[in-house]
């Protein structure tokens, strides 16, 4: 008798219901299967109407983020054997409106990523022409921002953040970490440009350092640290502006 495991999956079909429901599916239990394998099995063999996002199956694309027993996880990284024989509850990421089944609307997140100006900004007159070659950077300078560059935009951090769940105007962990990725890049001069967003009420100052964003991040980006460090540097800026108002403005 082959072993099986039950998955309780959040279903929402706006064309036929105004409230979501949970449907339970029984799938084969295999030692090396992840939740994504189980969901693909459901789609292929049991219920073709199930909608969800996935792509690389190896934790680099950031597509398959879902809530698994209330914890944000990549479905390609959550092994069935870690839950067996208990039922696994699968829901779309917290904090985002649900479009259909396990698919969240991520427009807010995408907007914030672009608003943070995620590109190298150089001071006027300090852009090197192409024929002068690359901007050189030492390994030590790279180490400063490298963790923040590892983000795969999976939004698990937003799903873990209670501040974002309560107030979606919060810029959020990944966007701020991305801002810091550029702020701490030795080739970048754009920190003050990004500060309008980062140092605003909806930026770092809504964060209460719960720290769960960093706990659930599959790439060890540590957005919580990025945010707290931004609080320190923004505070130093603020005191400089207040105590030395005649100082040069960038």
């Amino acid at each position: 008798m082959a072993e099986t495991i039950k998955l309780e999956i959040f279903r929402y079909r706006p064309e036929k219901e105004s409230e979501p429901t949970f449907l339970t599916y029984e799938v084969p239990f295999l030692e090396d299967w992840v939740v994504l394998d189980a969901i693909n099995h459901i789609k292929d063999e049991i219920d073709g109407t199930l909608s969800y996002r996935w792509s690389c199956q190896m934790g680099v694309c950031g597509s398959c983020g879902v809530m698994i027993n209330g914890v944000p996880k990549l479905s390609c990284a959550a092994f069935l054997k870690d839950y067996y024989p208990d039922k696994i509850r699968v829901e779309p990421l917290t904090g985002f409106p649900v479009e259909r089944d396990l698919i969240s609307q991520i427009d807010d997140f995408m907007t914030k990523l672009t608003k943070i100006q995620p590109y190298i900004i150089r001071k006027r007159g300090e852009e090197k022409p192409l024929d002068e070659g690359e901007y050189l950077q030492t390994p030590a300078e790279l180490a400063r921002f490298k963790p923040y560059s590892m983000c795969i935009n999976c939004m698990l951090c937003y799903a873990a953040c209670p501040v974002y769940a309560l107030d979606s105007t919060f810029i959020g962990p990944a966007a701020i970490a991305l801002g810091q990725r550029y702020n701490m890049d030795s080739r970048d001069h754009g920190r003050s440009a990004r500060q309008e967003l980062i140092a605003s009420h909806e930026g770092i100052w809504e964060c209460t350092f719960v720290g769960e964003c960093s706990a659930v991040c599959p790439k060890d980006v540590d957005p919580a640290a990025a945010i707290q460090r931004a609080k320190v540097s923004s505070t130093v800026d603020w005191f400089k502006d207040v105590l030395i108002p005649w100082g040069k403005k960038k």
């Binding site: 929402y12 914890v71 649900v98 030590a140 790279l142 309560l166 719960v210 720290g211 640290a225 707290q228």
Partner: protein
Amino acid sequence: MGEKEMSAYHRPVPNTWWLKRTPYVLFMLRELTSIFVAGYCVFLLILVYKLTQGADAYGNFIDALKSPSSIALHFITLAFVLYHTITWFNLTPKILVLYKGEEQIPKALVAGVFYTGWVVVSIVVALLVLGM
């Protein structure tokens, strides 16, 4: 608003969201330590106030410290304040990210500096009060 936004389902967040997972409960406990921090500071202020009210008033206040309710309240406060201290120092490596070249200074070292400082300060204060 497009049709997609109209039909999107917004899941409500209950005010008891923090009870759903252990990390959130621990977070809330950490936040609540601030009440006991403030409470003890008010207690200290009252102690200083009693100093201005003369030896008798102050003496009665100090005697009241021996009562079971005072001791119990102190123990509860100590538990919460210690939780504040530990969570506070453990978070310092997230704020103080320091590098030696390419290597990051280990988290344990950063927190360790604060814990050491805490022990030193506590001993100094204890010796001062005992030997004053």
